[in-house]
């Protein structure tokens, strides 16, 4: 019943958005509807998550062959639904204030309509219990998000980014459809419940399973933005309005993680070790490439989008590790607690799904607030905004801390558990695993460190120091609805980190429903897995907070006591006789140079310094620094494919000669050949 009302509320919101277009209420009611259906979604999913049985809604079906069109909320769906609903609720509230900027510029009715449809389709994707129904909803999700990406169609790059997104997402959908069709040939039904039987099919060949797995990885990897299928993500996410970027980065890419978990563990069963290793490898590359690109970027939303690539990499490292351990534990149950480590890796991955949804939507909202008040996306032209947008700055800071995995915030928990599961893998004696897992640990650590550097730079360049442009100087604080929604998310970032003990229990139930192994009883201090040999150190986020809260006043008191009261003098620093202005500040590009020098060249970041000579050999008249990011993947992977496709088309283009008689002859000859062959 609740499910039906969720669907109806969203549809009503979409309809009202169209009817109330260009009226005052049209800016409010669609978003209230979206928030309402999100709230109902939480109410519906929470009991499922706590183990009160699945919710199933059967839709009327007319074609028997396609199976039963049912929407099913089980444990895994419920987890993703709650994460999604929290984000969509906050984004809905945020949109009310944020979209005021678009009034009289773009059609707000369209936004309200697509917004509701997009949220509804996301909800359907997470609950669809049938492959055909899933593909329909997946397509609605892709197309509605495409229209949202090109919402600001007057901006120069918006439509081309949208086109790239549309193409990439359909390539992905083609792979997914192929995988589902292959599964259908094995089970004879499109229902996900019958797909789950594939796990037990012992007669199914390994090649077939691997083929399906590769197709699924390609299809969902495109949506998840895994390297090298990520190229659409850093273009499409920033092109959309910020509330939509938040939804896309926080929720939509998670649909891929959801389906990979469901398909690999639920349907196929992880039989081959190399599947996990492949996922692990791709995920590590994604994490590293994503974060280095984020560091080289100066567009605030592109930084966040690249950071999404990185975080999806981290999530998939967890999934890949879980797959590796699960495969080993399936193959050989003599190795102790391998199933536990697999569960830990998956719990870590799921936890990071939640954390990333929370802090990335928070960061995108913050970015949206900053962009709409400073009218630029270039962080080199911002600066000092923290003084004029105090609350936005504070909430953004929480998000930045969280994404940099600073304990006790939620970003830390997932990564910490992931590290544990990777470290505990030394019991496996496989050489390939022994090489790749430590490499993954290194990649994760490196990505985490660079991400921290990246967000220090982002926060510093945007909110601290002196304004670098007039726009930044005249920035105004965001409206109350925007601040309120950001506050909810920021406090959730802190709460889910501090109260991780309880959340990990719930997430463990979800992963137990997938893997069949629960680790709740073996977890110490909330987030640390106790091993039989007990060789791992413990950390409790709650304790960290308490210690932190105790130490903070202590440090303050001590420093005051020992240092004594200081006389504060406000004077200019010594400036060599030239007055210091905003241009003397450390720029964002400058700040990232040490790391870019070390890692940038591997992903095509090129910089050059040119100088104009003057009469003195020591002092050049002008110096110029130029940095550009060569689109490595586009140039060396996609361009050749594109060129080959065009060439092939030109080769066979002569068939289309423009003569009616020739076309008729083609049809005629085909008809004759078919008739003779199949007579």
């Amino acid at each position: 019943m609740l499910f039906v009302s969720i669907i109806l509320t969203s549809l009503a919101g979409a309809l009202l958005a169209v009817l109330l277009n260009k009226r005052r209420a049209g800016m409010l009611i669609p978003y209230i509807a979206a928030a309402l259906s999100s709230a109902m979604l939480i109410v519906m999913s929470a009991p499922v998550l706590l183990g009160h049985g699945d919710v199933i809604l059967s839709l009327p079906t007319y074609i028997q062959r396609l199976g039963e069109f049912s929407l099913r909320v089980d444990s895994l769906s419920a987890f993703f639904l709650i994460v999604m609903a929290i984000v969509t609720m906050c984004v809905s509230i945020y949109s009310v204030g944020y979209l005021r900027e678009y009034e009289n510029k773009y059609n707000l009715g369209r936004m309200g309509f697509l917004f509701n449809i997009f949220i509804l389709s996301l909800c359907m994707v997470f609950t669809a219990g049938n492959a055909i129904l899933f593909l329909i909803m997946w397509e609605i999700m892709s197309v509605s998000s495409y229209f949202l990406v090109i919402y600001e169609w007057r901006r120069a790059d918006s439509v081309s980014s949208g086109l790239m997104y549309l193409v990439m997402t359909h390539v992905g959908t083609a792979f997914i459809a192929a995988a589902f069709l292959l599964m259908w040939t094995q089970t004879g039904s499109f229902d996900f419940t019958s797909f789950a039987g594939i796990r037990e099919m012992s007669e199914l060949s390994g090649t077939m399973r691997s083929g399906i797995f590769i197709l699924l990885l390609l299809g969902f990897g495109t949506k998840a933005g895994l390297v090298p299928l990520h190229i659409w993500l850093p273009r499409a996410h920033p092109a959309a309005p910020s509330n939509i970027s938040a939804l896309m980065s926080a929720v939509m890419v998670k649909t891929a993680a959801y389906m990979i978990i469901r398909c690999c563990f639920g349907f196929l069963g992880v039989t081959e070790v190399w599947w996990g290793l492949l996922v692990l490898l791709i995920a590590c590359i994604s994490a590293l490439v994503g974060v280095v690109y984020a560091l080289a970027e100066t567009d605030i939303k592109r930084i966040l989008a690249y950071s999404t690539v990185e975080n999806m990499g981290i999530i998939f490292i967890g999934i890949g590790a879980a797959m590796v351990f699960q495969a080993f534990s399936n193959g050989d149950s003599t190795i102790p607690y391998l199933a536990d480590i697999a569960a830990l890796a998956l719990v870590a991955s799921l936890f990071h799904v939640m954390s990333h949804a929370l802090f990335k939507s928070l960061l995108f909202m913050g970015a949206g607030a900053v962009i709409s008040s400073s009218h630029t996306r270039n962080i080199e032209k911002m600066g000092g905004i923290g003084r004029r947008m105090r609350y936005t700055g504070a909430f953004f800071f929480v998000g930045a801390l969280s994404i940099s995995a600073i304990p006790p915030l939620n970003g830390f928990i997932g990564e910490w558990m992931l590290f544990q599961s990777l470290f505990l893998s030394q019991t496996i004696g496989d050489p390939m695993v022994n090489i790749l897992i430590p490499a993954a640990v290194a990649a994760l650590a490196l990505a985490g460190a660079i991400a921290a550097a990246c967000f220090v730079r982002l926060y510093g360049a945007v909110f601290l120091a002196r304004p670098r442009s007039d726009h930044a100087e005249n920035a105004e604080e965001a409206s109350n609805s925007m601040l309120g929604s950001m506050m909810i998310l920021a406090s959730l970032c802190v709460l889910t980190g501090v109260l991780a003990t309880f959340i990990v229990r719930i997430v463990d139930k979800v992963s137990a429903s997938v893997l069949g192994t629960s680790i709740a009883s073996k977890v110490v201090g909330g987030i640390t897995l106790s091993t039989p040999d007990g060789g791992f150190s413990h950390i409790s986020p709650l304790a960290v907070v308490i210690v932190f809260l105790l130490l903070l006043p202590l440090v303050y008191l001590l420093s005051n006591r020992l240092g004594g009261p200081q006389r504060i003098m406000r004077e200019d620093t010594w400036d060599c006789g030239t007055p210091l202005g905003p241009r003397n500040q450390y720029t964002a590009t400058g700040h990232s140079q040490p790391l870019i020098h070390s890692f940038g060249r591997y992903v095509g970041v090129k910089s050059e310094v040119s100088e104009t000579k003057s009469s003195s050999p020591l002092i050049p008249a002008r110096m110029k620094f130029h940095q550009e990011v060569e689109p490595v993947f586009e140039r060396y992977l996609y361009r050749p494919i594109h060129r080959a496709a065009v060439e092939l088309s030109n080769r066979i283009g002569w068939i289309q000669m423009g003569s009616i008689q020739a076309y008729l002859a083609y049809i005629f000859v085909t008809l004759l050949v078919l008739l003779v062959v199949f007579r």
Partner: protein, 216 residues
Amino acid sequence: MNLIDGLAATFLLIAILAVASGRVLSLVRLYSLHSIVLGITAAAVAALTNAGHIYIVAALTIALKGALIPWGLRYVIEKIGVHREVEPLVPLPVSLLICGVLTALSFYIVQPIVTGHDILETITKNSLPMSLAVIFIGFFMMIARKKAITQIIGLLIMENGLFMAAYAVAYGMPLIVELGVFFDILMAAIILGLLAFRINRTFDTVDTTILRRLHD
């Protein structure tokens, strides 16, 4: 049986004659004759199977395809002053050879259906390969002739062949379907006639090889 086989053979011969004819007007006349033979076949089928509704179809065939459409075509030809020659892309003797090949091919294609004992039980089943041959010949006419008018007639001959095939397999289609198809054909003839007008007006010729210019 022999009557229907004979009619079907005439039907095929007229189609081949149409391919052999070098003049547009005689082509239209042959089409008219072709349709009348089809109508007579339908009447014969009706008489042999005691199916009343086929008489209506037979009458409609003769009236519509035997008289009305040929008259319309003649009107179009006179109106836009089409030259008398059909201007073949494939020379007439070669066309005739190809028609022979197509006829043989269609006998080969339907042979398993016709000679198999329990597949087709109709008294008209022997006319199936001939009607298929007519479909092929009509199609070939569309390919091998330049003028839009000849292509229209090729399409109409194909369509006649389809009707004949329907009699061969199942004593024709249900009345409502036949009526629908008649209406379709009439519309198609009118539209194609109009199209020939437009092509003529735009290019000063009804030579469709000129449409190649529309190619980018």
